[in-house]
Amino acid sequence: MKILIDNAEVECKEGDLLIEVMLKNALEIPHFCYQEDLGADGNCRMCMVEIKGQKRPQIACNTFVKENLEVSTISENIKEVKRSILELELLNHPVDCAICDQAGECKLQDYYMDFGLYDSHLSTPKTKKGKHIDLGSNVMLDQERCVLCTRCVRFTSNITKTNELGIIGRGDNSRVAVAPGHELNNPYAMNVVELCPVGALTSKDFRFKQRVWFLDSTKSICHGCSRGCNIYIDYNETKYSAEKVHRFRARRNNKINKSFLCDYGRLSYKELNENFNADVSHVKDLKELLKDEKKLALVSPSMSLQQLQAVKSFCKDNSVELFSLPYIDENFGDEWLKTNDMSANFNGVKELGINYDEDEFGVSLQEAHVVINFDHKYLKNRELKSKKVVHFTTSHVDSDYELIFVIADFAHDSGTIINCDGIRQDFYATKYESQNSRLVDILEELK
């Protein structure tokens, strides 16, 4: 079925939501309250369109398409409607974009440039509300910047069902708030910052650190657990400092995480910034060690398939007994995204047939003279007396070692991982060159 939007034919199905049809076709449709995962609430009235045969403008987020629908978003009339609603939206806004973290990714700014551009008409006093309110879980609220779209409220009521946030007051006195004595406190709380279309909710972790237009983004996958939530890594390198990752943002994947992340995964970007310096050992010394008879390797279940494959071939070529063990934390998982298996690619380990029997590993470890650790967390701070230990690592190592090779982390070494549901996903390296070598390159050199 086809409908007409601004005189152009658009393909869709009877009963589709008009706003979804428009977004899918990359057509301009301003919206605050509608969000793909939260649905429509109909409160912001930003998505108004003109529909042929209807005397009043309609909201696209509550219009279902049917045969012969003719929609206009550009008639003078509808432009005026949008302009006037935007003017009302901004009426009591503090217009403090210069110090707002959302600047650059704020819908109000975008829409103002598209439909607003009027001179302020305000001759009456603005309504004053609260600023710098600490809601908990790293989330700060500025009630004056809020457009009351209720996305954050609906997130806590419909998605996490924790109900910490609500609207209090009536009319222009309406405000987002937490109940007295309570705080925003759930393992997914920081999603509200990303959901907020304006600068009303900001993350304490990111506030005031960077202007968003100075950031580069790379498509990646969270390595925090086996769910494999899709993310963007936002990072940059300035004249004065080395490359730094500033945040993870959710990247939509309707089969996995929709547009959400858990707070643990979201904040796990910090591990990528732990600068770890060690005097990197020489490959030839490793060759020397490989002459020993009893050799064992443990590979991290969060390594990519490419890395695992390289490790597997290396072990085969050099008669090293190879194991991998999953990172299990019985207290981490929940009914939604988080899984008890905190390894990013344990399904990859299984696919490549790498031994993950814990008991067999224990026995072999006792007998081994040389232990090669491929970035597995369990061995990084474990004393392995009377053994020669080699670490290939992306992070700080506590225990004594014979040799150490610092390798590029997942932000600098693209690859593929398989999530808990068997979905294969690629992630990519940021555009800056890593100071550390890629694991596969080092292993190549050993051949």
Binding site: L88, S123, G166, R170, D172
Partner: protein, 410 residues
């Protein structure tokens, strides 16, 4: 001019007590109710032409049919939130003849196959709510309600917390479910209201209180009053600059000026009539010049560019300041907007603040332009009709009394 159907027992002392009520005909319609099949009752209500008396005037029979046809556990919710300035009729029924309402609820529940009814009473109506609860308790004792009744109906009173918007039926149900009283998005095709996802009928107190007479006397007896399209009677309220403010029942279609003169006792101190807000605060004001042939029915007032609303007339005499009158109304809208829709939340507040500048006689021509444009932004672009009503109120004042506003411009 006065016709007593719903208000028949209002003047009988202690008519809220069940013995007095029974002695004066209350619950007598139940015999005819239970003799009939539910669908027959719905058909009688349809034939009577009964229209909702909460302001909208929707055909009651059709609403009942939709609920009756819908699958699920059915609820009957009585809207007693009455919070609109100028409207104070339902409280008369609650306090003077609560058994009439209970009788009506039993008939309605039977007609739409419901066993559970809630009465949502305006928060400030504590006193009336207590009288009503007393009557409900008596009705349980006499087995008109509860397990011992011929047809089981349970009634629970729910008192609101003082928000006008909770009178809007979907906001009322949100509130009844324990949520904030925010109106819901309107459906795309005819369907009942929903209480916890179950089909629900929401009717005004007076609508339900009109049911016993119709069932007992037949649709034609009701149609004997009023006009073809607005049959029956209404409890008209009259307030403002009149000598005898109050609630008086009359047929639809009578002359407004005659009603004001004869029933309301005319404008105070013999002053001239300047304007009338015909049906509660949310109906557009009409100047005296337009009222010569005005009749109190839905069709006539809508043809004049206003509405019958709840029939609560607010009368303004020649001394009334239209600027102050509008300020008074806009303060109400500012205070009562639920705040979810942008045009209403910001528009009601802005227009109220602009009116301050007119009242202070410090307005500018631009203020007047803004007032008009804000009003336009509120019309037809929101979830419920609260904002369009506010818009209509502003437009009405500016259309008929713009000169008074221009005088306040520096």
């Amino acid at each position: 001019m006065i016709t007593k159907i719903v208000s028949k027992n209002f003047e009988i002392p202690d008519s809220h007590l069940i013995d007095v009520a029974l002695a004066n005909g209350r619950y007598s319609s139940l015999k005819s109710v239970f003799e009939k099949e539910p669908q027959e009752l719905i058909d009688i209500i349809k034939q009577s032409g009964l229209r909702g008396k909460g302001g909208g005037g929707a055909a009651t029979g059709n609403k009942w049919q939709i609920v009756s046809d819908w699958d699920g556990v059915k609820y009957v919710v009585v809207n007693a939130d009455e919070s609109e300035p100028g409207t104070f009729k339902d409280r008369r029924i609650l306090s003077l003849d609560p058994h009439l309402l209970i009788e009506g609820i039993i008939a309605t529940c039977y007609a739409v196959s419901s066993n559970i009814s809630y009465i949502y009473v305006r928060g400030e109506y504590e006193e009336f709510s207590d009288v009503l609860q007393g009557a409900i308790d008596e009705a349980y004792e006499k087995n008109f309600l509860g397990v011992g009744a011929k047809y089981r109906v349970d009634i629970t009173i729910h008192r609101g917390a003082g928000a006008y918007i909770c009178g809007e039926k979907s906001a009322l149900l949100e509130s009844l479910e324990g949520n904030r009283g925010h109106p819901r998005l309107k459906p795309h095709s005819p369907e009942p209201e929903f209480y916890f996802n179950e089909p629900t009928l929401v009717n005004n107190v007076e609508t339900i209180a009109s049911v016993p007479f119709i069932i007992e006397n037949g649709a034609d007896a009701y149609r004997a009053y009023g006009t073809e399209k607005s049959p029956g009677t209404l409890l008209f309220g009259i307030s403002g600059n009149v000598n005898k403010p109050g609630v008086y029942e009359a047929e639809f279609g009578i002359s407004m000026l005659e009603f004001i003169e004869k029933v309301g006792g005319g404008v105070k101190k013999g002053k001239k009539l300047k304007a009338v807000i015909p049906g509660g605060a949310s109906t557009p004001i009409l100047p005296y010049e337009m009222l010569k042939d005005a009749r109190l029915d839905y069709e006539n007032l809508s043809a004049l560019g206003s509405a019958l609303g709840t029939g609560g007339m607010i009368v303004l005499g020649e001394d009334a300041s239209m600027v102050k009158a509008l300020k008074n109304l806009l303060r109400f809208y500012h205070h009562e907007s639920c705040g979810q829709c942008t045009p209403c939340r910001e528009g009601t507040s802005w227009s109220d603040k602009i009116l301050d500048r007119f009242v202070a006689k410090k307005a500018t021509t631009e203020d007047l332009e803004i007032l008009k444009s804000v009003s336009n932004s509120m019309n037809g672009k929101t979830i419920c009709v609260f904002a369009p009503a506010a818009s209509g109120v502003i437009d009405g004042f500016l259309k008929h009394f713009e000169a008074e506003f221009l005088e306040c411009i520096v």
